[in-house]
């Protein structure tokens, strides 16, 4: 059985230090928007920028986005970006990244599994050729030269703090607990490409999504009512598939997570409470 605890990478830009922490308290929030909001809520006095993926990222089709939660002025933003970043974070064994502090000089973060370096340019960020994902923040967030957040981009906040880019390589892997069930679910969900609320295209596609839609370029903003999908982190266009608790329960179980139906049903309330706490603070 895989533990539901979340692995969070804390980056302290001012100290050029990092640490990995295991968070049992994040387990009820599943991932994505749930864990991002919880981390933001707990650390809001420190103005964190939080990126999160979900427990099934890269393991099932259409679960291809990374959730970002951050503050700017008096507002808190939730936003989603596509491309290959989410899959790299997943296989680096990272559920969330929390960025804190302000660097004294231009900084690029290089992440290879549990090895993290602070360098001063993307050309020095390393990573494994053909397996890495490069993110630039200087002209807005751009992943692999294409994928962006569209509106409400956290890049301006990050660049102001000295962070101009990031590289992620993930060499880990997952062995599903119930392989036969996993393969059946995977195949069934892949066949449901026509349940997505976005047409198929020939544009660059997010990793683990076959659709190649035009909208992968600009990510998506938050929209209430998709909290389960956004915790996994699927794009909103896959909500017909991933807002179904039975489907999600089966997917999680096939991998080896021990979430119950009740915990999944309760997720929306937990997330709503977090939003209220943030808005009232």
């Amino acid at each position: 059985m895989i533990k539901n605890t979340k692995t969070v990478l804390y980056l302290y830009l001012n100290k050029k230090k990092y640490e990995f922490k295991q968070h049992e308290d994040l387990a009820p929030y599943l991932g994505g928007v749930g864990t991002s909001l919880k981390l933001f809520c707990d650390l809001k006095d420190y103005l964190p920028v939080v990126f999160s993926v979900g427990p099934l990222t890269g393991l099932f089709p259409y679960l291809s986005k990374t959730c970002a939660v951050y503050g700017r002025g008096d507002s808190v933003f939730e936003n989603y970006i596509g491309g290959p970043l989410a899959v790299r974070l997943k296989f680096a064994g990272i559920d969330s990244i929390v960025i804190l502090g302000e660097a004294s000089q231009r900084t690029v973060i290089s992440i290879e599994d549990r090895n993290v370096k602070f360098v001063d340019s993307i050309s020095k960020a390393g990573g494994v050729y053909g397996r890495r994902c490069v993110v630039s923040f200087e002209k807005g967030t751009i992943i692999e030269g294409y994928f962006t957040f569209g509106e409400n981009d956290p890049a301006s906040v990050l660049v102001k703090r000295g962070l101009i880019g990031m590289q992620v390589t993930g060499s880990g892997s997952v062995e599903p607990k119930e392989l036969s069930l996993y393969e059946k679910l995977y195949g069934d969900i892949l066949q449901r490409v026509y349940d997505l609320s976005v047409p198929k295209g020939k544009f660059p596609s997010c990793s683990s999504c076959p659709v190649g839609c035009k909208l992968s370029y600009t990510g998506e903003k938050k929209e209430y009512g998709r909290d389960l999908t956004h915790s996994l982190v699927g794009c909103g266009y896959s909500q017909k598939i991933y807002e179904d608790i039975s489907t999600v329960f089966s997917c999680l179980n096939s991998i080896g997570y021990s979430y119950t139906h009740e915990e999944l049903e309760n997720l929306g309330v937990l997330i709503s409470n977090l939003r209220n706490a943030i808005n009232n603070s």
Partner: protein, 75 residues
């Protein structure tokens, strides 16, 4: 005699990496990307595919999973 995987239409690739994931699952029995015999690399506006043909298993399944018909099988 099993057929081998050929990258016939790389210009059609959308970079979804379903082939990368499937190829690793078939060759290593695990879900990931770093041990996959296939790499998909974005260079400018196109994708380049590198295939370690000696390590590919289940080439027909990789052909099937590609949404853009990039691959074919050849003797």
């Amino acid at each position: 005699m099993s057929k081998s995987l050929r990258v016939s239409f790389p210009e059609k690739c959308v970079g979804c990496e379903l082939c990368v994931l499937m190829a690793q699952k078939l060759s290593n029995f695990s879900i990931g990307i770093s041990n996959s015999p296939i790499k998909v690399i974005k260079e400018g506006e196109r994708y380049i595919l590198e295939v370690d043909e000696g390590r590919v298993r289940g080439a027909d399944k990789i052909v099937d999973i590609c949404p853009a018909a990039v691959f074919t099988l050849e003797d």
